[in-house]
């Protein structure tokens, strides 16, 4: 088991190098340059000399492979470089100040989705074609079809403007500094309700469908039949024998959504004015801020590889068949 994990880890290194190289290439091939974005191109006062200076400062005048090599050399020392944007801050700092809020939102969102989607999926599978199932099916289609930004605006109008129950956007009220401690927390939570609601709505639809599908397949299996034949109660049959097996595919889907945890949703963040990773990335792309884009890519790529590995390992933990197959394969 340990050997298997180690082998996978070592194999991941060339993969990571490949991913970063291709990304580096693609980003630099994209038309437009970071320096163009900083020399006031639409003003009558643009100055060509600045551009030249910036090109030299950023090392953009060197051949691409040299630039890549310099970047890798810094990266192995965990130096992600400084942003090309005029604040010239270290990339890691920029990511670090945006990451917590994105992680918080995404983890809460994922937790809610899982907690709701599993029971919904199980119920609609075990009561296939019942009223409940039909309602959830409609709900799912609505969920898939509703654009995030539209739902967000509607909720903002209802709860923010009409009813005045919740704040519309941002993370804290302007008076936050002057509130008592527990009031501050309450204020913060209030600001998160709408974004989480919007983000959950779309995700819930998909996840509950997966669960339903997976459950439907399992309940048709012979071992469920025999469990029932043994005289086990329906609760034990579904809750223990069926659910465990039905959760297997969900593990994979969950594993794959791990890297997504750090990539914020651009739409939700922009509409709710939340300073998260999504906004940072989009701005970096518009400004051709290569170090920030690459820094983020490395983190996402690493997480994806790790998440894949974890998913595979968990698989073999929960499913004895895979363990056995792996052992045979090695022989």
């Amino acid at each position: 088991m340990l050997g298997y994990a180690l082998r996978r880890l070592i194999l991941a290194i060339p993969l990571l190098v490949g991913i970063t190289f291709v990304s580096f290439l693609v980003i630099h091939l994209a038309p437009g340059e970071p320096t163009d974005m900083q020399s006031d191109e639409s003003s009558t006062r643009s100055d060509a000399k600045v551009r030249q200076l910036l090109v030299e400062t950023y090392g953009l005048d060197k051949p691409l492979h040299v630039q890549y090599w310099n970047w890798v050399k810094r990266l192995v020392r965990l130096d992600f470089g400084r942003s090309f944007s005029p604040d010239a801050r270290p990339v890691l700092q920029k990511i670090a100040e945006r990451l917590p809020i994105t992680l918080l939102l995404n983890i809460v969102e994922l937790a809610i989705i899982v907690m709701l989607a599993i029971p919904i999926g199980v119920l609609s599978a075990t009561r296939q074609y019942s009223t409940f199932d039909k309602i959830t099916t409609v709900f799912v289609f609505v969920g898939f079809a509703t654009p995030d930004f539209w739902l967000a605006l509607m909720l903002m109008i209802l709860f923010g403007v009409q009813l005045g129950w919740l704040p519309i956007s941002g993370l804290r009220s302007p008076t936050w500094e002057y509130l008592a401690f527990w009031r501050q927390q309450w204020d913060f939570v209030g600001h998160l309700v709408l974004p989480i609601l919007v983000a959950t709505f779309g995700g819930l639809a998909g996840f509950s469908r997966y669960m339903r599908q997976s459950m439907l397949e399992v309940v048709r299996q012979d071992y469920i039949q025999s469990a029932r034949a043994k005289g086990l109660s329906e609760g034990v049959v579904i809750g223990k024998h069926a659910l465990r097996n039905a959760l297997l595919p969900i593990v994979t889907v969950l594993g794959l959504s791990l890297p997504g945890l750090i990539g914020g949703s651009v739409i939700v963040e922009s509409i709710f004015a939340i300073p998260g990773m999504g906004q940072l990335m989009v701005q970096a792309v518009f400004e051709r801020d290569y170090p920030v884009i690459m820094g983020n890519l490395v983190i996402v790529a690493t997480l994806t590889l790790v998440a894949n590995l974890i998913a595979d390992l968990t698989y073999s933990l929960v499913d004895p068949r895979i363990r056995v197959a792996a052992r045979r394969g090695r022989r």
Binding site: A30, P31, G32, E33, D36, M37, Q38, S39, D40, E41, S42, S43, T44, R45, S46, D47, A48, K49, V50, R51, L53, L54, T57, R82, S85, P86, D87, A88, R89, K94, E97, R98, L153, M156, I157, G160, V161, G164, P167, I168, S169, G170, L171, R172, P174, T175, E177, Y178, S270, I271, F272, A273, I274, P275, G276, Q279, V282, Q283, F286, R288
Partner: protein
């Protein structure tokens, strides 16, 4: 993000204008309580910013939001007053020598940096040295090219010597003054962007001091009690960064922000109900941005002036302004804003006249021989690609209206929408375009040498259309090399006549700035420059205070 209207405008350059500039301000709500009341201190003003600021030392930045915040933190030696005249800010007075080559500033003696160090001539010399240091990544070093030397005669006198007379000399000293005692070591290395003051605790001389900047979320400033011009009334400013204009609008409705800029649609159609008009005052002024149709003059078809004039006649500017901006813009007849001293109203106009447009094109050899509605010359149909930047709804509408207008006179236009960075690099800089919709941000000074002079056509320079007219070259050179305003006026009047005749680009319209401010804020006096110029005098009557302010 950050990219809708601004994408088209690029980054406005409004040095010392604190984000506003304009003409003929008409408060739509004069009755809504801007009347006399005794100013009191206190309360917080919350303004919505569309983009994150990129730093706190504006001299090395280029984006509008950063300038807006920096305008509160820093001062220049001079600034533009409400009627767009240069007046002293940190300089008490100044004097030109008769030959325009020597400029001497007397500085105010009661000015302190936010850390209570006195502001002196050494800081002025330092700021100049920083701006001209070849290592400093600033877009505005060019303003000081004509300077021969800057000396501190005594702690409160600065003497500037110019190599040749320079019309923009005085204006260039509206540059934000930087503190020598804090930034000297960073400036010498060209590392102002890396200086901690660019990220937190900037030190200026301005009416507000820095409190906090949460990236992407907000910037908080507090009143400077020791400001040389008197403590400002409003105690705190919170800039909330809200990328979506729809969200900003809902925040206004829910009173989550006090001031914001509206879109034309919001201004005209969505804010006319009584509750909104009671809670907010709306203002309108011509912003320093004009939108134009540029044609590549290296293309033989557009090199013919009659073709450009025909296009000017074919486009109904009034209808365009109505359709795109709901009427909230002013027709452009040239590159200067109506109402400024340099504006010349007596130039050749191009009223909407498709018949005349067709006649001009026929004169240039373009005829519809087979009557299929498409003009041809020597068997080649007249069609071209019109490029514009992605993400601008305004640009797209302009392009579509132009497409329809030109179709009426038999010219086929294909619209191509391209991402801004790519448009700039692959098409505009390589001069690889036929026609393009763009906007120019202009400065209060009329010098536009970089845009129209025939020497400014290399890839990174701004005469993108490849315009060359010896008379224009001469006028531009003369206009920038005298410090006598009356002479300048003559040159720029003539320049506008030539440009109007030539139509090197089709000037479309000056967009209106549409700010809205909570009606509890008093003391706003709209003027040609906009509304923000007297922010220090804004106040909230005691009974209307909404926030605790520290």
């Amino acid at each position: 993000m950050r990219r809708d209207v601004l994408r088209l405008a690029g980054l406005l350059l409004l040095i010392a204008l604190a984000g506003c500039g304009g003409e003929a301000d008409s408060p739509l709500d004069t009755a809504a309580g801007q009347g006399a009341a005794k100013p009191v201190y206190g309360d917080t003003y919350i303004e919505a910013l569309q983009g994150n600021i990129s730093g706190l030392i504006p001299n090395v930045l280029t984006d509008g939001p950063s300038f807006e915040v920096a305008g509160m933190l820093y001062n220049g030696l001079v600034k533009y007053d409400k009627d767009l005249n240069l007046v002293g800010e940190l300089a008490e007075s100044w004097q030109y020598s008769r030959d325009c080559l020597d400029l001497t500033f007397k500085l105010r003696r009661n000015v302190q940096w936010h850390d209570h160090t006195p502001f002196t001539a050494a800081d002025v010399v330092f700021t100049y040295d920083t701006m001209v240091n070849p290592k400093t990544p600033t877009a505005y070093g060019g303003d000081f090219k004509a300077v021969e030397s800057v000396d501190a005669v005594d702690p409160y006198t600065v003497h500037v010597r110019y190599k040749h007379p320079n019309a923009k000399a005085l204006q260039s000293w509206s540059i934000w003054m930087l503190p020598k005692h804090l930034l000297e070591s960073y400036a010498r290395e060209g590392k102002l962007r890396e200086a901690p003051q660019n990220r937190s605790d900037p030190v200026g001389t301005g009416p507000y001091k820095f409190k906090e900047w949460k990236a992407g979320e907000k910037v908080v400033l507090v009143a400077n009690p020791d400001y040389f011009d008197g403590r400002p009334y409003i105690s705190r400013i919170v800039y909330r960064i809200i990328p979506s204009s729809a969200t900003t609008f809902l925040e206004l409705k829910a009173k989550g922000v006090d001031g914001a800029k509206l879109t034309a649609l919001q201004f005209k159609r969505q804010t006319e109900y009584p509750a909104f008009r009671k809670a907010y005052n709306k203002y309108q002024y011509a912003a320093n941005v004009y939108v134009y149709l540029g044609m590549n003059l290296r293309d033989a078809r557009f090199a013919d002036r009659r073709v450009r004039q025909a296009f000017a006649h074919a486009i109904n500017k009034r209808e365009l302004i109505e359709g795109v901006r709901l009427g909230l813009a002013r027709e452009a007849t040239g590159p200067y804003k109506p109402g400024t001293w340099q504006y010349n109203p007596n130039v050749h106009q191009y009223p909407y006249d498709p018949g005349k447009a067709r006649a001009l094109l026929a004169e240039a050899g373009w005829n519809d021989k087979n009557a299929d509605g498409i003009l041809t010359r020597n068997g080649v149909p007249f069609k071209f690609d019109l490029l514009l930047a992605q993400g601008s709804d305004e640009g797209r509408k302009v392009a579509e209206i132009i497409q329809a207008s030109l179709k009426d006179i038999g010219v086929q236009v294909e619209i191509r929408v391209i991402e801004w960075a790519a448009l700039l690099k692959e098409y505009i800089k390589k001069r690889n375009f036929e026609a393009v919709i763009l906007a120019w941000g202009i400065t209060p000074d009329p010098d536009q040498y970089d845009i129209w002079h025939s020497s400014k056509t290399s890839p990174d320079e701004l005469n993108r259309i490849g315009y060359a007219n010896p008379e224009v070259d001469e006028l531009l050179e003369k206009g920038r090399s005298t410090c006598v305003e009356a002479d300048r006026k003559k040159y720029y009047d003539r320049l506008q006549e030539v440009l109007a005749d030539d139509q090197p680009i089709v000037f479309l319209y000056f967009r209106d700035g549409l700010p809205v401010v909570s009606s509890r804020i008093r003391g706003i006096v709209p003027s040609p420059i906009g509304i923000n110029y007297n922010f220090n005098e804004w106040f909230v009557p005691l009974n209307l205070h909404r926030y605790t302010a520290g």
